[in-house]
Symmetry: C2
Subunit: 188 residues, 2 copies
């Protein structure tokens, strides 16, 4: 039986982010991460399939936040009302994670392969949101435009949030981006 | 001196798309492409740095279409008016390329690495558009939300266009996506 290690997942995540920032993602091994965390490789592999999963393991949960958030909108909600409810459900998830998000974002933008993976993750969330909107009876191209626009709003807000010092909540920045969307579309 | 070959670039593009579709991108070599086109590897490398560039070599021109299109908007144009003019400038570029675009899209969606590269290309265009909007005096987050939304509109229209039989022009589908954007934002 493996020995129970208090907060092993969190320690591995911290160690990985430290090393990715210090040495770069490509120059860091799973062994390095386990050693820095004071744990074994075997313990690492109980939590993550590989070092990339330390950065992207939350992807399914992230997508579920968007889709489950959408499910909470009433059936008669307009497309933009529905994705607004979805965005309002996602943003608070990050409320105490600014430092972690900032460090993760710095690692990802420094590495082309990781940056590509992040874009794929967001594109997958947009596709899942579009499918959920179609299930609500929303036609194309409205479903896809709404979903892609919601991800554009989220991404813009998220990038401003990680670039800042964390004083402002992501929720507030998401609302500003949504307001910007409303005002640009209103002047069309 | 190299022998002049009529339409060597076009023949290489055709041969590459044929082979990528038949064998897959990873299983096709530059030699295969040159042979299929009835040309030499040396001729291939006069036009393309590698086989990936056959698919992505037009990326700079694509980005320039968006940014130059934006420059044509009058200084007092609202953000959405400006990107509408940009999108109207980009779409006609594809008007006689449906078959080529359809085949290229099929190759790209079949290969994860190529799909990631395509997403990076679109993200770069969005960043360039946002920078151009800021230069026009548009503040953040409006500049980024507008640019990302414009790319979302383009991408949605483009995917519907390549999925169709080419009877409808890309320009028409872009207008439908823009109209969907206006109507979703109006109901916020």
């Amino acid at each position: 039986m493996a020995r129970w290690e208090p907060n092993a997942r969190g320690r591995l995540e911290e160690a990985a982010l430290d090393l990715f920032a210090e040495r770069g993602f490509d120059q860091t091994t799973v062994e390095d991460i386990a050693t820095r965390a004071g744990l074994t490789k075997r313990t690492f592999f109980r939590y993550f399939a590989d070092k990339r999963e330390v950065l992207f393991g939350g992807g399914n949960q992230f997508q579920a936040l968007f889709v489950d958030g959408l499910a909470a909108a009433r059936a008669t909600a307009t497309p933009i009302e529905a994705v607004t409810i979805s965005l309002e459900a996602v943003a608070p998830f990050f409320s105490d994670r600014h430092e972690h998000a900032r460090r993760r974002h710095a690692v990802i933008t420094a590495n082309e392969e990781l940056h590509e993976r992040e874009l794929v993750k967001l594109a997958s969330v947009a596709a899942a949101l579009a499918a959920a909107l179609r299930e609500r009876g929303i036609q194309e191209p409205t479903a896809s435009v709404t979903a892609e626009t919601a991800i554009a709003v989220f991404r813009t807000a998220f990038e401003r949030w990680v670039a800042g010092d964390g004083d402002r909540e992501l929720t507030e920045l998401v609302r500003e981006s949504l307001e910007a969307l409303r005002s640009i579309a209103a002047t069309a």
